[in-house]
């Protein structure tokens, strides 16, 4: 193959220009080139050759598209230097450009394109921390009442009146899902409430880690109200991790236990309607809360009350009566306000023909 590269070198063809691709891990170089003058004939195809230094090994990288005079070589390493040359095929003739000067790709320590996002993150963290410190100092923060909260307590009360159990589904997602965390906060509140009236609460879980945490939450809740005796290790259990296996199981559970109240809090997928409609068919009172936008319509239709999106997080703050959680809802509100202001301002500017891109990728 070597003889291919040993060809007549016409008129000292200019080497390709090589640039480092910025903001990357030093794994890409960009090439630009100029085609040989038309007087030499029309280029049929071309190959890019790369020499890796210090070894001096030559590779053929790729066949490229002629009229698209740039190419990004993503097969390089920031610890080495590279030279490039282009081989043009014009009819039977092959033209070899000179080698470009050695170029080393740079591994960046910061992606400058992401700086605006970073600033935004710091800003949001600051807003949150300011509110959290305000709350720590004991200042009362106002939040408007949300309608779903009374529904939660009423639903617990109803199970007590009827002397039948409560089924609590803490969503189907893992512990790192915010909805699950909110659901566990609400579970603590409901367990306490139910414990005061000795109403049984059954918690089937789909995720093993969530199961262990939920069990601790329930045990702790009984302990807080001074009734550790109420804790039954069988009431919180791992059902199965199969999505529809879990749905089938909980459907059966609600039917067999004739639960008076069902809670569906956390993250849900397509099984949401299987759970909620089976629950509705047994005549139970149902309260749902999820941030899964695709499943909200089904809960809204089948449940007596639904906490929509952020209301789920807000509810967990309200019910846990934890001032720090209330503070963070407050912080979220201010960030929301900021986003709305930005939207309106940029839209107004655009009316006057100024289109600002946020510079955020």
């Amino acid at each position: 193959m070597i003889w291919i590269y040993l060809i007549i070198n016409l008129l000292g063809n200019a080497p390709p220009r090589v640039f480092d691709v910025p903001n990357d891990g030093g794994n890409a170089l960009m090439l630009e080139w100029q085609l040989p003058p038309d007087s030499l004939g029309k280029v049929d195809s071309m190959l890019i050759l790369r020499k890796t230094l210090p070894e001096g090994k030559v590779d053929t990288i790729t066949k490229v598209f002629i009229n698209h005079p740039e190419f990004v070589d993503e097969g390089v390493n920031y610890k080495k230097a590279y030279q490039y040359s282009i081989l043009y095929f014009i009819g039977p003739v092959q033209i070899h450009s000179e080698w470009s000067p050695p170029t080393k790709p740079v591994a960046s320590w910061i992606d400058t394109r992401k700086i605006p996002l970073f600033i935004l993150m710091i800003l949001y963290t600051t807003i949150l921390l300011v509110y959290i410190f305000t709350a720590r100092k004991g200042r009362e923060l106002y939040l408007r009442p949300i309608a779903g909260l009374e529904a939660v307590d009423e639903a617990v009360g109803r199970a007590t009146e009827m002397g039948r159990p409560i089924v609590y589904v803490p969503g189907l997602s893992s512990i790192s899902d915010v909805a699950t965390i909110a659901a566990l906060n609400i579970l603590a509140h409901i367990t306490k409430k139910a414990g005061e009236y000795e109403t049984k609460i059954i918690v089937p879980v789909r995720d093993p880690v969530v199961y262990t945490v939920a069990r601790e939450v329930v045990r702790e809740a009984y302990y807080t109200i001074g009734r550790p005796d109420l804790f039954d290790p069988g009431q919180v259990y791992f059902a199965t991790d199969s999505q529809f296996g879990y749905a089938a199981h909980v459907s059966a559970l609600m039917t067999r236990e004739k639960s008076a109240t069902n809670f569906f809090m956390g993250m849900f997928w397509a099984e949401s309607l299987i759970l909620a409609e089976t629950g509705a068919s047994t005549g139970a009172i149902q309260v749902a809360g999820t941030d899964a936008v695709t499943q909200l319509p089904f809960f809204v239709v089948t449940c007596d009350y639904t906490l929509i999106g952020e209301e789920l997080y807000a509810a967990s703050a309200y019910l846990s009566k934890e001032p720090l959680l209330t503070a963070s809802i407050k912080g979220q509100d201010q960030m929301k306000l900021l986003i709305m202001v930005v939207m309106i301002l940029l839209s107004l500017l655009s009316v006057f023909g100024v289109n600002i891109t946020l510079g955020l990728f």
Binding site: K63, F65, I66, N67, H68, S281
Partner: protein, 284 residues
Amino acid sequence: MRDFLIKLSKIERRYIYLALFLALTLPLIFPPNFPQKMSPTVKSVFEFIDTLPPGSHVLLSADYDASVLPEVDPMYRAVLKHCILRGVIPVGMTLYPQGAVLALDAFKEAEEYLGARRDTDYVFLGYQAGFQAVILGIGENIKNVFPKDYFGTPIDSIPAMRGVKNYKDIALVISFSGSSVPVTWVIYAYSKYHQKVAAAVTAVSAADFYPYIQTGQFVGMLAGMKGAAEYEYAVRKIMKDKGIEKLPPAKAVKGMDANSIGHLLIMLFIIIGNLGYFASKRRK
């Protein structure tokens, strides 16, 4: 009368289940074959292909895998047959490794029912890796991207590919997909090479594509089982008009008819439920 209406608002759920089961089962056993009127976005794709001069080329990119087969596959089959019936040359390709086998089956079906011949009536290029690179590459020279077709025949020696170099020689690209690949086609083939692009997508992803239709970046769109059924119906009609007796299975039409009846049933239940609700309210 009023008592009857009130009863209607309290139908036991088991009867609803039974009614729905029958509504979806009976049309499968006794196909009603409803006439399908094309929705506007499907119509634009159909008419585009229908009015092409014979011998034109249409690139059909099977950018899907088995997970969206029920919705997208019937579309691929229908559009492909439409091309062959009109003497337009379909050029099959895919950006998904799994797509090649799925699309090939559609071409086999066209051979069986329409007597289409490889390399003269159609071309099948197969799979090539890299979305952006492939789409840009075809704008340059299709030969650079697909030097040989799926079966290993060099592109140069395929009669049906004579004179086809890049997008200038391709009348339309249709991307069949369950994801955002059609948008990739718009970004690189439409924006850079002014290639006309259409989409054939699942119902779920269709919602994201309507804006592209409004701005004219897509010529048209086949969305979900409904789009598939409308196209399939139209193509079957052409086949019947041509006197072809043996017709391929009408998967989408059948599924869609059952689906339509099911939808009507739900709507009927909603209406009678509300009649009963009003009746009981007036009594109070």
